[in-house]
Every structure is written in structure tokens, then in C-alpha cells.
Amino acid sequence: MKDGFQGLRLGKWMLGLLKQRAAGLFCFTFLALGLVSLINPAFLAWGNLRDIAVQAAPVCIISCGLMLVLVLGEIDISVGSMMGVLAASMGAMVSATRWGLSPWIAVILTLILGTLMGALNGWLIAYLRVPSIMVTLGMLTALRGVTEVIMGGTWITDLPPGIRYLGTGSWMGLPICLWVCAGVIVLSTWLIHRTPLGRRIFAIGSQPRAAHLAGLPIQRVKFLVFAWTGFLTALATLVSVPQLSVVDSGIGVGMELLVVTCVVVGGTSVSGGTGHLSGVVFAVLLMTMISTLLIFMKLGENATYWSRAIQGLFILGAILLDHLVRSKKSS
């Protein structure tokens, strides 16, 4: 009995923490920043902070879409491979030695292609009712294969300046990718809080049976959310890949795991129904900082290799927390 009481107090404390997941992550991020800058003040240099933000931007853009997928109670692990295909096709389109299209057309075609790939996922999941984990696992492998076919075993090294500007250019002192990321966050906030579609996404994820009885268009909503995720993946590809002058077939490998980690650590329930965009944004910042943090802590070369392990621990911790809070609630 005593143990039960203790458990209850622990549960209440955890519930409080989950409610303020965004605030908790915010504090944690700044605590980590503070500690590292004590060890190595160079961490706080403007250039370094900007680098972190630039690295975080594409992850954040995709996370905004994937969060909605998880809120629906589904999953999409194909975003990394989608990025690969989109990067390869974009490179092939603009490369003078390949198709040599104008950058403008390449951008538009890439966005369309991303949306179509997302829509294909959505169609299989919503209308043919194939479990999303199976569909996107298949896509994860298939699209990586497509990437290699497009690349044909070589690298694309002649990206024209027009497309490079998306990755390297800046506007009003901030890199383009940060502007795009900010735009996506604003758009997602509006979508979630201010449109019927946003409310329906949360309703369907919260209780699919009730959604059915309430006559909600479950299939259409699922389809739209997957297509939207595909579109955002294309957007992320466009602002991140041209940062480097080379496109290879390994772009986006592991991206899906990083994005899922961020969304879950950000407080989105794996079983659907809840999620806060602010939590996800801070989780993205924290996750992208980890590898840089380890370098700046001067722990030696091995330390950088730990970043993946730490990412994994974060996702396990977040799921455990989610689970504990839910089992406390239901009892």
C-alpha cells in the first residue's frame, strides 16, 4: 500500500512534467547550453549557434508533418529515403551534365514529386488500409533503391548557383532555411489550432471509433496528412541539400529515426491524440545540439560516436515517460 502511495506521487509529478513538456525541454536545452559554454565558451559564438539552427531547420520542417502523422496514431519512417530520392532527382534535374533544367522548374517539380510520394503512402494507408508501419518500411527500402538508380553510382557535383542559393543564401541576415522553417512552424500552428482539419486530426487520433460514429472523413484526413508530410520533406530537401556542392546517394539516411525521435521526445503520444508543436520544436533543437555539444565538451574523439546512443536513450526515455503517465491516468 505504501508503495502505491509513493507511486501516485511520482505519477503526479510526472504528469505535471508531461503537461509542460515544452517548458521542460526549454529549460533542459538552456541548461545544456549553459553547462557546455562554461566548459568551452566558443560554443556560444554566433557562427556556431547559427550552424546548429541551420542543421536543425530541415529536421524541424519534417517534424511538423510527422507530428501530425503520429497524432493520427500512424507512423511514417520513409521520410529519410524520400529525402534521398528528392535530392537525387533535384540534382539530376539541375545538373548541366544531366537534364539541365532551370532551378525554378526543378524546385516546383521537386515539391510536386515529394507530395506525390507522400500521397502514395497516404493512399495505401488510408484507402487500402495497409498498416502504416508496413507501407513506410517498404518505402524506406524501395525509395533508397530508386535513389541509387537515379545516381547511377556517381556523385552530382555541378549544382548551379541558382539552386545553391537555397542552401547558402540568406535574407535579412538569416539563412533561407531558417525563414522557411519559421514559415512552416507558423503554418502548422495555424493548421492545428485554427482549422477544422487540425481539430479533426486530433479527434481521429484520440478515438477512431468515435470519429467513425461522428461521421468524420477519416480516410481523407489520413491521406492529406501523409501527402502534407511528403510536401514538407521536399521543402526540407530543397533548403538543406544545396548547402553542400555535392549530392550523393546517402542523403537522408537515418533522417526518419532522428525525426521520429524529435517528435516523440517533444511529447507527442505514440498512440495518437496528443502532441504540442512547441515541444517538438525544442526537441529538434536539443537533438541537433547533442552531437555538437559532445564535440565542444572536449571529451575526446570517442565522444562524438556517443551521440547516436544518446539519441536512442532519449527516445526510450520519452516513450517510458509517456507510458508511465498514461498508466497512471487510467488507474
Binding site: 482549422t195 477544422p196 486530433f202 479527434a203 487520433g205 478515438q207 468515435a210 470519429a211 461521421g215 468524420l216
Partner: protein, 504 residues
């Protein structure tokens, strides 16, 4: 002029006929009650009227216009709204979102939600229902009664012409029931026709002008409530006395002195309280009551599937330790046939043999793991003993008929020779012939010295098989009777909740 008219509605599930040629007429501005025992077909009828299910035959019209069958949204649109027994809510969303999801009000063509307007309207509706809880907390954190009111509020948001309420007061307190009745009264004044399903007969008499009685999927009559008495209504629900040939020959068994199972003061809030019972060797103890009275929950608690808040359970003279589990109860010699055969009783895609030997795998294994031969022998003898009709012992369980599936569920326990069988609805969805066989097997098990706790909503069955019958009502034991003295009327009388302060 009738508002809602259903004509000759029939609906079957698999082989069982849930509704056959049921007709019902609902007048505008009236409250029409729908009564019947468990399984009489009330919920099927409601599902058809509200567009959740499609009937096999028959038609439903609203003011002479046929309604779109099987399409919830379209049916709601023309003004037929149902509040289901289990509240349909989204636990993570707040009350405002729950009321409006699917019918959001927005400006600029769906691009900007009119949050203020929706909130005001939600406030108004919940206020008119007499609720004062915060509209901003997630509905999952509200009480069951409050959730029921949210579900009700959702219905009131529609321009409704026909309101279907399925057991709306089951989880409500007296105060909440009163405000619900006031709302119903107001709607009735506005000309809304209300179809009211309730087991609380006092409510039926107080509220409804007409009552339709369903019995075994058929319409047993429609009468003005003013021309009926409570006992007449019960008689119509039960029907003509069913003759039970074996009841007369019921053995007044020489009870062995020591009970196999003895329960003292068992409680699990909020499903059951203050449960005392004994089952003796060779005895069949029937547990009757309405769906939701707590019978299955008691069975699950005894078998160690659900925790108990308080109380002692003695099995063959030994008190079960606190926090006992299904492993303990199985090892001691209990067996349970669960209510939901397909989901809880069987591994449907697995073979007959796998299902039959599942609880006894340890016993059938040697030091190198499972042996094929003992398993074959065990399953062969069980198939024979239980009379399971199957192409081979390797056929999958789902290829068998309901009756044969149930024999597997029973048979897998029989091999372990348990001292106590807990049978939860052992003949649900089983055809007549197989039902007879299952009954014979249950009697054989009892004759072999096992104690049997039988839960059944099938009144003739429980009267026929049991030696003694306990009737539960709202989680409490309402009465005990020897089965040769029992009648369906008595059991139903006990099972129905008594008049409550809500009505005074």
C-alpha cells in the same frame, strides 16, 4: 401523422437473427420507450435507426421520406440523432472541440475557426443540460456521467427531429438525471420525437407515452404506458412461460459440506460491491442480471484477471493471497470460459490441436520441450470426448462453427480437470443443437464433481441448468433462490433497478 417509421426491419448476424420484421412508429413531440431483455434486439434496432448498421430488409422513413440507411452523417443531417450507451467522445479533446468536431463553425471558408462563437454555443448547451464543469479540460479527465452529458450535448447541437437515447441514465446521478429529463421535456415541447431505451421501468412509466416491447428480436407489442402496469410490462418482456422439461427433474443434490469456492465481501469499485457467495462441489450456481450488472467483472476478478479492492476468496479451503494472478488460479484448479469466445477464448488462426493443448503445454512437454505424441493423443481424445466436429485436428479454429468453437474452449480446460469452472455466457451465438450439447456437457462436468459458476443472460438456460441462482443488480447481489422455485418474472424483477430518488 408519424415522424419516424420503421417497417419490417430484419437483421441477422452470421446465423443468429437479431431482429425479425420489427416495426415501430414514433410520433413527433412524444417520448416512446423501447423495452426488452438483454439480447432482445434493442441495440441492433437503434444502430439501424441511427445509420450505424444497415438492415437486411425493411425500410425506415422520416415524414414519409426514406432515410439513407447505414450512413451516420447523412442520417444526422436529416435530424435523427442517437446518443449511444457508451458515450462517443474524444478523450484528448476538450468539451468545445468534442461538441463541434466534424461540424466546426469557421470563417473565411474553413480557414479560420470561429472559436469564440463555438465556445459560447457550447457554454449555452452545457448550461442548459445543467452542467457547470470547465469546458477546457480534456474530456478523458471528466467523470463517466459528465462524458455522457458531453455526448448528449453533441446530439443537441444538431437541429434534431428525432432523438434516440440508449440507456442515458445508466451512469448518471439523480441530479444529472433530473436535468436530462428536463431537457427531454423541453425538446418534446419543441416537437422532437424521442426514442427512449431504459431498463429502469419507473422512468419508462414516468416519461413515456408509448412503449414498444421487443422479445427475441421480435416486436411483442406497442402499448400506451397508461394502460400497463409494471408487472404486465415485465410479463410482456419475458413472454409466455417457457416450459423447461428438465427443471422438474432437477436434483436436490446432497451438497458436500465444504464449498469449493467461497467469497466474502468482495469489492471492486465501481463495478461490484459486497459480494458473498459459495459454490459447492457438483453444484451449478447461476449468476443472472442485466448486462452491466457486474457479472462478468466478478468472474474476471475471481479468475485473477482483474484486481480486487477488498474481500476474501477461499478456494478449496485455502485463502487466495493478495494480488493473486491467473497463474495462481489455474494452478489451483480454476478454469474460465470467457464471454467473448472469438477474442478471449480462442486463438482463431491456430489449429484445433493448438487451441486444445494451449493451457496444458507444460504438462505435455518433456525435458526436451514439447512432444508431438502426447499432444496428438490429448487432442484426439478431447475431440472425441467433447464431440467436436472438425475436419482434422490441424484445421484452424476459425473454420469451425460457433458451437464447435465453444466446445474447444471448454475442452481445453477439461483436460486439466479443474475443480471450478467459471462459464461466462457459454452458449452465446451457438445454434440450438450445439447449445443442447454444451448444456449436457456442463451437467456432466457438475456430475463429475466440479463446481460451476454459470453466467448467462439466457433466462431459460440459467433456470434449466442451475441448482441455485443469484441475481445481481448494479454490482450487488439482490437475491438468491433455488432454481425450482425461480421464475423468469422473479429474476427480472430482481435484476431491474428499483425506483430511485431521481423520480421523486
Amino acid at each position: 401523422m408519424s415522424a419516424l417509421q420503421a417497417k419490417q426491419i430484419s437483421r441477422s448476424y452470421g446465423g443468429t437473427r437479431a431482429l425479425s420484421e420489427v416495426s415501430i412508429e414514433l410520433l413527433p413531440g412524444s417520448i416512446h420507450a423501447l423495452c426488452g431483455e438483454n439480447g432482445a434486439g434493442k441495440s441492433t434496432l437503434i444502430k439501424i435507426l441511427s445509420g450505424v448498421e444497415t438492415p437486411d430488409s425493411g425500410e425506415v422513413t422520416l415524414n414519409g421520406q426514406p432515410i439513407p440507411l447505414g450512413r451516420v452523417h447523412a442520417v444526422e443531417q436529416i435530424g435523427i440523432v442517437a446518443v449511444h450507451q457508451e458515450p462517443v467522445v474524444f478523450p484528448h479533446l476538450n468539451t468545445v472541440d468534442n461538441l463541434f468536431v466534424g461540424r466546426e463553425q469557421s470563417k473565411v471558408g474553413g480557414l479560420w475557426l470561429n472559436k469564440k462563437g463555438m465556445r459560447e454555443q457550447a457554454c449555452q448547451i452545457m448550461h442548459s443540460l445543467g452542467e457547470a464543469f470547465s469546458l477546457d479540460i480534456p474530456v478523458g479527465q471528466l467523470s463517466l456521467a459528465q462524458r455522457q452529458m458531453v455526448s448528449m450535448g453533441r446530439a443537441l447541437l444538431h437541429e434534431c427531429r428525432i432523438l434516440i437515447l440508449d440507456e442515458p441514465t445508466a451512469s448518471l446521478s439523480a441530479r444529472e438525471s433530473r436535468s436530462l429529463f428536463a431537457t427531454m421535456d423541453r425538446l418534446q415541447q419543441q416537437g422532437v420525437g424521442i426514442l427512449y431505451v431504459s431498463h429502469r421501468l419507473e422512468e419508462v412509466f414516468q416519461l413515456a407515452q408509448q412503449v414498444t416491447i421487443l422479445r427475441d428480436g421480435q416486436c411483442a407489442g406497442t402499448q400506451p404506458t397508461s394502460s400497463l402496469s409494471r408487472s404486465e410490462l415485465i410479463r410482456m418482456m419475458v413472454g409466455r412461460p417457457v416450459d423447461n422439461p428438465s427443471r422438474q427433474q432437477k436434483k436436490t443434490k446432497s451438497k458436500s459440506d465444504k464449498p469449493i469456492l467461497k467469497i466474502r465481501g468482495m469489492r471492486r469499485d465501481p463495478v461490484f460491491q459486497d459480494i458473498h457467495l459459495e459454490v459447492y462441489a457438483g453444484e451449478i450456481l447461476g449468476l443472472s442480471g442485466l448486462v452491466g450488472a457486474g457479472r462478468s467483472e466478478i468472474a474476471r476478478a475471481i479468475f485473477g484477471l482483474d484486481p480486487v479492492d477488498e474481500g476474501e476468496i477461499w478456494f478449496e479451503g485455502r485463502c487466495l493471497p493478495e494480488g493473486f494472478t491467473i497463474q495462481d488460479t489455474m494452478a489451483m484448479g480454476m478454469a474460465m470460459v470467457p464471454e467473448d469466445r472469438q477474442r478471449e477464448g480462442l486463438v482463431l488462426p491456430a489449429s484445433v490441436e493448438d487451441n486444445l493443448t494451449l493451457p496444458s503445454l507444460i504438462e505435455l512437454s518433456g525435458w526436451m520441450g514439447m512432444h508431438r505424441k502426447p499432444r496428438h493423443e490429448a487432442s484426439r481424445s478431447l475431440i472425441e470426448q467433447m464431440g467436436i466436429k472438425t475436419a482434422s485436428r490441424a484445421s484452424s479454429a476459425q473454420s469451425l462453427s460457433g458451437g464447435n468453437q465453444q466446445k474447444i474452449v471448454l475442452g481445453k480446460w477439461v483436460y486439466r480437470q479443474p475443480r471450478l469452472f467459471i462459464l461466462d455466457e457459454p452458449t452465446r451465438g451457438v445454434d440450438v443443437g450445439a447449445k443442447e450439447e454444451v448444456h449436457r456437457m456442463i451437467e456432466q462436468l457438475a456430475a463429475g464433481g466440479s463446481a460451476i459458476l454459470l453466467i448467462s443472460s439466457d433466462m431459460p438456460e440459467i433456470l434449466r441448468l442451475s441448482d441455485r441462482i443469484l441475481t445481481l443488480c448494479q454490482g450487488r447481489i439482490k437475491g438468491e433462490i433455488a432454481s425450482h422455485e425461480a421464475t423468469q418474472e422473479i429474476l427480472l424483477q430482481w435484476a431491474l433497478p428499483e425506483e430511485r430518488d431521481a423520480l421523486s
